[in-house]
């Protein structure tokens, strides 16, 4: 499938889960396809990063369900901050473990799962729909009952997949992609590369085969589809691009320019515009990440050619 075909199967008002974590292995090409569509009034569920930021900036989110929204190396997401501070979105803010429990309960077709997380915090105050449950056993503990959070659709990005929807993470963390998938009615997985099934186990080890074809309704081959978030070991986060994104968000004029440069056309147009940007020296954080998870420097793994460009100006690390 293509990204646009995936989005054609989604409807305004849906509850959509987005995999990954912060600014890591986000299905960004699918998010960009939503930006090209007329989908709106979405309830978005995410361990949030720039996926949430871009959808906030484009006014597509009615309600956000999250434990945090962060760009990792840049702690605060500017568009999410703006949306919250202007009251533009409704929110369900959970402890991040509560969010896992909500997805897990939906996956298991249970009405709720109990936990201590959230008790005593203002998560309970700002989410008055939450209820507690008393243990039926001798301890009698009163715990928070996190309600199941079924998703109409889930969007995830993996390193490899076969055409039938078996998909594989090759980086350090599966995040919660499998829970997003099993909590959802429709599941779309983008991947860096579609490979023959036999190649999956040969490359990664059995533990990396976390997403199974019964979970997945459609596969999209999306090289650099997670850009500008990280997708180890295929590529590190594009820190320079992320900094440019944050700078652009500070002002309506520069943001319009950013949108015109990067988000005005197709996914191929986006990747071309990014490639036209000039590469900059890696930050120490990128180097550290690359040395540990990519087996070399981040620059070695960057598909961006060393051609001159003006898309994102340099900034000291």
């Amino acid at each position: 499938m293509t990204e646009d075909e995936v989005v054609a199967g989604l409807r305004s008002g849906m509850t959509i889960g987005i995999g990954g974590w912060g600014s890591r292995r986000k299905p960004m090409s699918l998010v960009r396809a939503i930006l090209r569509s007329d989908l709106r009034d979405l309830t978005v569920v995410s361990y949030g990063g720039p996926d949430v930021g871009l959808l906030c900036a484009a006014g597509r989110i009615k309600r956000l369900v999250y434990g945090f929204v962060s760009l990792d190396s840049v702690p605060l997401e500017p568009h999410f901050q703006a949306a919250r501070q202007s009251g533009a979105i409704e929110v369900t803010e959970y402890d991040e473990g509560m969010l896992q429990w909500a997805l897990y309960a939906a996956s298991l077709r249970l009405p709720f799962l109990p936990t201590r997380a959230g008790l005593g915090s203002d998560v309970v105050r700002v989410n008055p729909q939450l209820r507690t449950v008393v243990s039926p056993y001798d301890d009698g503990e009163e715990l928070l009952a996190v309600p199941a959070l079924p998703l109409d659709a889930a969007l995830i990005h993996l390193n490899r997949a076969d055409v039938t929807g078996n998909a594989q993470f090759l980086g350090p963390d599966p995040y919660f992609d499998d829970l997003f998938a099993t909590a959802a009615t429709q599941v779309y997985a983008s991947c860096e590369r579609i490979v023959p099934t036999a190649e999956l186990a040969a490359v990664g080890g059995f533990g990396s085969l976390r997403i199974h074809r019964w979970m997945v309704d459609g596969v999209v081959e999306a090289p650099r589809g997670a850009h500008f978030t990280s997708c180890a070991p295929d590529y590190a986060r594009d820190e320079a691009f992320q900094r440019a994104y944050v700078r652009a968000a500070k002002d309506a004029g520069t943001w319009r320019e950013f949108v015109a440069t990067y988000l005005g056309g197709s996914e191929a147009d986006y990747q071309r515009a990014v490639a036209a940007g000039r590469p900059r020296p890696d930050s120490p954080a990128e180097q550290a990440f690359a040395a540990t998870y990519l087996g070399g420097s981040a620059a070695d793994h960057r598909a961006v050619p060393a051609s001159a460009g003006t898309a994102a100006e340099a900034e000291p690390a």
Partner: protein, 255 residues
């Protein structure tokens, strides 16, 4: 060796938070807590487990901001972190945007939650962490905007909030200490109100009180925070933080 800087006193005060913890996971947030946790493991708390900040437990002692050379001890993806936290074998040190008298902390949003004046990260794992395992805090700039009478959005649970929520919230709640650029504080009072334990060398009790937006418990003579030993100073300066990242949080100009 030159005399210890304020940042180095803070590193040791953070390291001391994990003293006696044994074979659990130390989860420091922020530069000085990270240096402190590695220092604690390299000296008096050798059984601690430390993550590389991504998804691996790694042994050894290595510089902040640089990749961990390993060896890798284990795999700890995020879902394993939640399992670990809820199971209690962890002691986290978090950095609050606000903290109050009974140890409620806020990393979510400043102002009215419905429409904050400043949106921060969200509550993250703070609610679950605090009610499940020991928690400490690191505040690089002790001021009354951070030490407030009541936080705007309780993210990390304090003693009064847990008591109101019932036994399930209080059962494993344990707020160990608050380390700041000025002092060390804890909740060792009968009603768990925040108490001044020690002031760093060169800091007065009055200075701490003036920068705290609520009444601190102060019983008897407040001691002075201990200085790093020569061996600790060498580890900080030569091994764990050779490039002085600690001064990004507590500048030398502060001395």
């Amino acid at each position: 060796m030159s005399s210890p800087t304020r940042a180095e006193v803070c590193v040791v005060a953070c390291a001391e938070a994990w003293r006696g913890d044994g074979e659990i996971v130390a989860s420091p947030m922020g530069t000085i807590p990270t240096i402190g946790a590695r220092l604690a493991r390299a000296t008096f708390e050798p059984d601690l487990l430390l993550s590389d900040g991504e998804a691996l437990y790694v042994a050894g002692t290595w510089p902040v901001g640089e990749p961990a050379p390993g060896p890798v001890e284990g795999w700890v993806p995020y879902r394993a972190v939640f399992d670990l936290a809820w199971g209690g074998k962890r002691h986290v040190m978090m950095g609050p945007g606000q903290i109050d008298r009974y140890g409620n902390s806020n990393i979510s949003a400043i102002g009215d939650f419905a429409r904050p004046t400043r949106q921060l990260l969200g509550v993250r794992g703070a609610p679950g962490n605090t009610v499940n395992h020991p928690t400490s805090y690191w505040v690089p700039r002790h001021r009354d905007r951070t030490f407030v009478p009541r936080v705007d959005m309780v993210s990390g649970v304090g003693y009064d909030s847990a008591a109101k929520a019932g036994p399930a919230a209080s059962r494993f709640l344990e707020l160990r200490r608050v380390v700041t650029n000025l002092a060390v504080l804890d909740f060792g009072t009968p009603d768990h109100a925040m108490r001044l334990v020690s002031v760093h060398p060169g800091v007065t009790v009055a200075e701490v009180a003036a920068n705290t937006g609520f009444q601190l418990a102060i019983d008897g003579d407040v001691s002075e925070t201990r200085l790093p030993t020569a061996a600790e100073l060498r580890l900080i300066r030569e091994v764990i933080d050779p490039h002085g990242a600690r001064y990004g949080e507590v500048p030398q100009a502060h001395e």
